[in-house]
Point group: C2
C-alpha cells in the first residue's frame, strides 16, 4: 500500500505582543504522521507513539483524526485512511503540539490522495483538529505549523494570513520545562474583557514589532516584545517566569516570554551566537526554578509542515 | 522685535485600527502662531483669531500657552514671550486642533529662542498643551503635527515613535461636517475595558496595516482599515457614519472612518484621482446626513510643523 509520512514543526504563538495573532515555526521537535489507504471509509488511528498512552485512538476524539476527517469531507473523498502518529512534541507544552499533529495529518493525507489542496483548505481542516485539542480554534499555531515562517493572522474566518519578513540572523530559543499547562485553563485566566489601556499598549507594540521585522531594527523589535495582556495574567503558571526572562535578556536576547500559554518559554535573538548564550542562561534559570529537567532548542525561524517520506507500493 | 511664525497641520489620529497609537498629517488646514519676545517673563496671548472668541487669552488656560510655558520651563529660559494665534482648524473637529496649536507654539518659541530643542522635548511640551485641550495627553495628534508623516506611537512615556513608510500615491480625504464632538465625552463612551475578542481583532489589523504600508500592499491596507474598538462605540455621534464610509469605499477608497473622535471623517486612497472621486462621494454623503455644510480636503501624507515666517528686527 502506498504511504506518506509528513512532519509538522513546533510553533511559538503569541510572541510577546501578538496574542492569538502571531506565531512562528522552529526547527527540531515536531510531530510525524504516516497516512495509508485502508479498507472501508473514514479515518482509523492505528498507532500513537510518544504520548504515554494519553491520546485517543478514536479518530473523532483525536486532533489528527479530526483534521484528516475534515479534509476528506471537504474534498468529497470516501476512501478510508489510516494514520500512525509519532508525537515528538510533549502534551500541553505550549509548543503547538495539537496544531502540529493536525498540520501533519492534513499534509500527509493531502499527499496520499494526490489532491494538492489549497493551503487555506489545509489550514481550515487542521483548525478543526486544533479545536478539539485546544478547546477552541486559534490559528496562531496551525498557520505557522503549515506555512512555516513568522506569520500574522489578520483574520481567522475568512482566513487572512500575512507572512512577515524575518531579519537575517533572527534566531529563536525555546525552553520546555517539566510542567503541563492546559490551554483552556490558561485562557480562562484572561477573562472576556481587558483594560483599554493594556489593549492600546498591545497594539502599539504589535505595530512596532511588524515595523521592526521589516526594517531589521533589532532595537525596536526588542522594545516591542512585551505582552501587556496575557502574560501578566498567566505569570503564576510558571514559577520564576520573570527571572527566566531577565536571564534571557541579560544574555543578550531581544526579548522573551511564554510560548503560547506556556509552560515553554521563548526568546528571540539577533544572531545564533547570542541565541546560544541565551539558551544556556534560560536553561539554567528554568532548572533553578522548576524541578524535573528541561529541553532547550535553538532554531532559525523554520519551514512548515512537509512530506518527509513516501512509499509507492 | 524679532518674531517667528510657525504653522502646524491638521492630523488624523486613530486611522481605523490604531486608537491612541496611529496618526498622520495632512496638507491644507492648520494653526499658525507668531511668537515674539516681550517685557517681563512668562507667556502672554496677545490675540486669537478664528476661534469666535471661545479660547482663553490666559496662557495657563490656553493649549498654545501651556505648551510654550512648558518649553520655556524645560529650557530654563526666563524671557517673556507673546503669542498671536490664528486658528485655521475648527474647534472639536477631530482634526487635532489643540495638537496643532500646541505644536505650532513650541516650534515658534523654539525658533524664536534659537534653541533647536530636540524633537522629543518639543513633543513632550506640546503634550502638556494637548492635555489641557483634550483632557488627557494622547500623542497620536501631537506627534504627527510635529514630525509629519504617518506615525505609530509605540509608547507615550518615555516617548517611542515609529515613522511608518508611506506607499507612493497614498492620498487622504478628510471631510469636516458642521458638528462638534468633545474628545473627552467621546472617550467616555469607550469605558475602561473592552472585550478581548475586539482587542485581538484590533491588534491583528494594526499589525497588518503596518505590513501593508511597508509592502505598498493596498489590498491589505484596505482589509486592515477597520476599527473594532472605538468607532462601533461612537457611531451614534455622527449621523450617517456607515453610509458615508460606504460611499467612500464605493468610490474606490481603501477604507474610511472617524478622524480621531470625529466628527471629521477620513478616507485613504491609492492615488490622487481615486481620492478626488472619494472626496466627492463622501462630501455628498455627509451633506445628505448632516445639515450645515462641510469642508473637504484631499492631501498627500504631509509634513509636520514648520517655521513659515521670521522677522529679524
Amino acid at each position: 500500500m502506498p504511504s506518506v509520512t509528513a512532519f509538522a514543526p513546533a510553533t511559538v504563538s503569541n510572541v510577546g505582543c501578538g496574542f492569538d495573532a502571531l506565531g512562528f515555526a522552529i526547527d527540531g521537535p515536531g510531530d510525524e504522521i504516516t497516512a495509508e489507504f485502508r479498507e472501508g471509509t473514514g479515518v482509523e488511528i492505528t498507532a500513537i507513539a510518544g504520548d504515554n498512552g494519553r491520546l485517543s485512538l478514536d479518530a473523532h476524539r483525536n486532533t489528527a483524526g479530526v483534521a484528516a476527517l475534515a479534509l476528506l469531507a471537504a474534498l468529497g473523498k470516501t476512501r478510508g485512511v489510516s494514520l500512525a502518529i509519532r508525537k515528538g512534541l510533549p502534551l500541553a507544552s505550549g509548543l503547538g503540539g495539537s496544531a502540529a499533529s493536525a498540520a501533519a495529518a492534513v499534509v500527509a493525507v493531502d499527499a496520499l490522495l494526490g489532491t494538492r489542496a489549497p493551503v487555506d483548505l489545509l489550514i481550515a481542516c487542521a483548525l478543526e483538529g486544533e479545536r478539539l485539542g485546544a478547546g477552541s480554534a486559534h490559528p496562531d499555531n496551525v498557520v505557522p505549523a503549515i506555512c512555516g515562517g513568522f506569520v500574522l493572522v489578520r483574520n481567522p474566518q475568512p482566513l487572512d494570513v500575512v507572512r512577515l519578513p524575518v531579519p537575517a540572523g533572527l534566531t529563536a530559543v525555546v525552553v520546555h520545562p517539566a510542567l503541563e499547562i492546559e490551554t483552556a485553563s490558561a485562557r480562562a485566566l484572561l477573562g472576556d474583557a481587558i483594560p483599554l489601556a493594556d489593549a492600546i499598549r498591545q497594539w502599539a507594540n504589535l505595530g512596532a514589532l511588524v515595523d521592526g521585522l521589516h526594517r531589521s531594527d533589532f532595537e525596536l523589535i526588542s522594545r516591542a516584545l512585551v505582552d501587556s495582556v496575557a502574560e501578566p495574567r498567566r505569570a503564576g503558571l510558571v514559577p520564576g517566569l520573570e527571572a527566566i526572562k531577565r536571564a534571557a535578556v541579560a544574555a543578550g536576547a531581544l526579548g522573551a516570554g511564554l510560548s503560547g500559554s506556556g509552560p515553554s518559554l521563548f526568546a528571540l535573538c539577533r544572531d545564533r551566537a547570542t541565541a546560544d548564550r541565551a539558551a544556556v542562561a534560560m536553561t539554567a534559570a528554568v532548572d533553578a526554578h522548576i524541578r524535573g529537567g528541561s529541553q532547550t532548542y535553538v532554531s532559525a525561524i523554520a519551514s512548515g509542515a512537509r512530506v518527509v517520506a513516501t512509499c509507492a507500493s
